[in-house]
Amino acid sequence: MPFVEAIRLALSQIRAHKLKSFFTLLGVTIGVMFLIAVVAVINGMGRYMEEEFAGKLMGVNTFTLRHRPYFEMNTTDEEWRSYARRPRIFLHDVEPVVKALPPDVMWAIESRDNIPVSTKDMRPRDVEAFAVDGSFFEIRNLNVATGRLIAPHEFASGSKVVVIGQDVKQRFFPTTEALGRELRIGGVPYRIIGVMEEQGSVFGLSVDKFVVGPMNSPLARLLNRRFGVIDGIILKSSSMQGMRDGMERVRQVMRGRHKLRPAQPDNFSIETTESALTFWAKIENILVMAGIVLPALGLVVGAIVIMNIMLVAVAQRTREIGIRKSLGARRRDILSQFLVEAATLSTIGAVFGILFGIGLAALVAKVSPMPASVAPWSVVTSVILGAGVGIISGMYPAARAARLDPIVALRQE
């Protein structure tokens, strides 16, 4: 029987039993719906990571030297202990590192921690505090909305001045001018000299809840208790190649300073935007696995339902099968008729699932901070999966139908 004929037949069967077909489709529809939605959320987050997050947090052609990796997961206890034994990065590491690099490389140093800040009249709140030096604002691409950035002489002298993010401004000075006012950090008053432009959010978490002060100010001591210790050195090249070369030079300098023998591994970490993205890729894999398991359950249930319905259909239509066989239908005609019917049924289920899934993804994107963007591959996969589930679950019922003895089948009432 021609394929088109088989599909026409399948569609008319489905139309004839609308309610039954609806329930048959449900499992596949729900499975595919979640598949589409979950993958859309993961995909949306991934795109977000690449386009926004990595750029916002790291910047292009930028790498960071730290004593231990910032973007890492599944760290074993063993690794944790080895990180703890590593020497820290010190202020006196900065000069040799910067000297090893071409003059067009921008550098900055930072220490950061979540600490409470307050004003005279407001209760303390935790913000991300940075103590920095060098071209921090240029590398991070941070600009002031009002006021000014920290000046070189203020960096040098360790003036008690800060620039603040939009969130901090909104929290402490919602209606009044923030410039020139005092912010108390660790009991020490700092003068606000600039308010930064809004950065937006990453996964719904604001990245505007920060204060930045000079490394030489008392702020640094709050963030790193040990004198002279910094969290990291940030370096930005003008090109990708410059970044690659720079990373290798920094590595050699640090190995020399830490007196590592050639056989010993690095006891410091150099990370790039790529590290952040690799880190994300790992999370993404785990999420995808989790995101696949749930819809897979739906599809398995769908497959079982379809198999049952098809077995019932074969039993109910035994006489029809007998008639068709008496008129010249071969085994494979009957087999393909029922396979196509099951596949059509579940593909329709998958199509509904795709539509609902797109809707669900849009809903998630709208009501939650998670970005969602439907992945084309998930749509294609869903259709293939839908047809596949139908074919697999239709196999046994169709084989039973095809094996029927026409004489016995014709006798069926």
Partner: protein, 268 residues
């Protein structure tokens, strides 16, 4: 009764000759030749001999009724002739092909091309229109859609149902349904029209209407084989084969048969 063109009936001697040449393909004049076909059923360890060696030869254009009481093996014989089943032993030649050795798929092909079934219960697909029902054998023959429609419409017109093409079976009377079934049986120009109790579910008026359709088809040269247990229905055929206990007990012209039945009744 419509006027018959008296189609030739094979003589007993000719039949004997073709049946005795075992293993040889009969010449193309013979549509059906069975040589000693047997059919045994295994009913839970006990073997039932439904057919115990049936020799039957039917020429093209013959109109034959197969009669017999229930349990005589006439249904089994019909299934074998209709290629729905294969014999346990013996040869069955249909239109020059040795059907008794064929595989399932080959049998399906033979059913599709060579046999037109007409059943007691019509066996139409309830959800399909008359036209679509008639198209079915052509679907399995791989005929393209356009031509299928044309040929199915022609077949329906042949049984005077051209105006009912788009009705479903439940919108048709019993006689109309059986005529749709006849149209379906004829649509692929089969070698034989095989009817199993074609009037069993019809009242006597409709029965004679259907029998007239068979008469016309036979007169036009269609080979017709009809299985029935009703003598007055069988009396429409030109030749009557009677089965008893899995064997042919008589095989004669209608008039000889009628005379013999009348004599037997008179003697009673």
């Amino acid at each position: 009764m419509s006027p018959h063109v008296d189609t030739p009936i094979s003589s007993t001697a000719e039949r004997e000759a073709v049946i005795r040449s075992a293993g040889l393909a009969p010449d193309e004049d013979w549509v059906i030749v069975t040589r000693g076909i047997q059919r045994d059923y295994d009913m839970g360890g006990e073997v039932v001999h439904a057919l115990r060696g049936v020799d039957l030869a039917i020429r093209r254009n013959e109109y034959v009724a197969i009669m017999g009481p229930s349990g005589s093996g006439k249904s089994t014989l019909m299934n074998l002739i209709g290629c729905l089943d294969t014999p346990t032993a013996g040869e069955y030649w249909l239109n020059g092909m040795l059907v008794s050795d064929m595989s399932d798929d080959e049998l399906a092909r033979v059913r599709n091309r060579e046999i037109g079934f007409v059943f007691q219960t019509f066996n139409l697909l309830p959800r399909a229109t008359a036209l679509h029902n008639v198209e079915l054998p052509l679907v399995y023959a791989g005929v393209p859609s356009q031509e299928r429609k044309r040929r199915a419409t022609e077949a329906l017109e042949r049984v005077q149902l051209g105006d009912r093409a788009h009705h479903r079976p439940n919108e048709l009377s019993g006689g109309q349904r059986q005529r749709v079934a006849i149209a379906r049986a004829l649509v692929n120009n089969p070698a034989i029209l095989l009817a199993d109790e074609p009037t069993g579910n019809l009242d006597s008026g409709t029965s004679s209407e259907i029998m007239r359709v068979f008469d016309v088809l036979a007169a036009e040269g269609q080979t017709v084989i009809m299985v029935t247990h009703e003598a007055d229905i069988a009396a429409n055929a030109r030749r009557i084969v009677v089965l008893r206990d899995g064997r042919i007990s008589s095989d004669e012209r209608r008039d000889t048969f009628a005379q013999r039945v009348a004599l037997a009744q008179a003697a009673h």
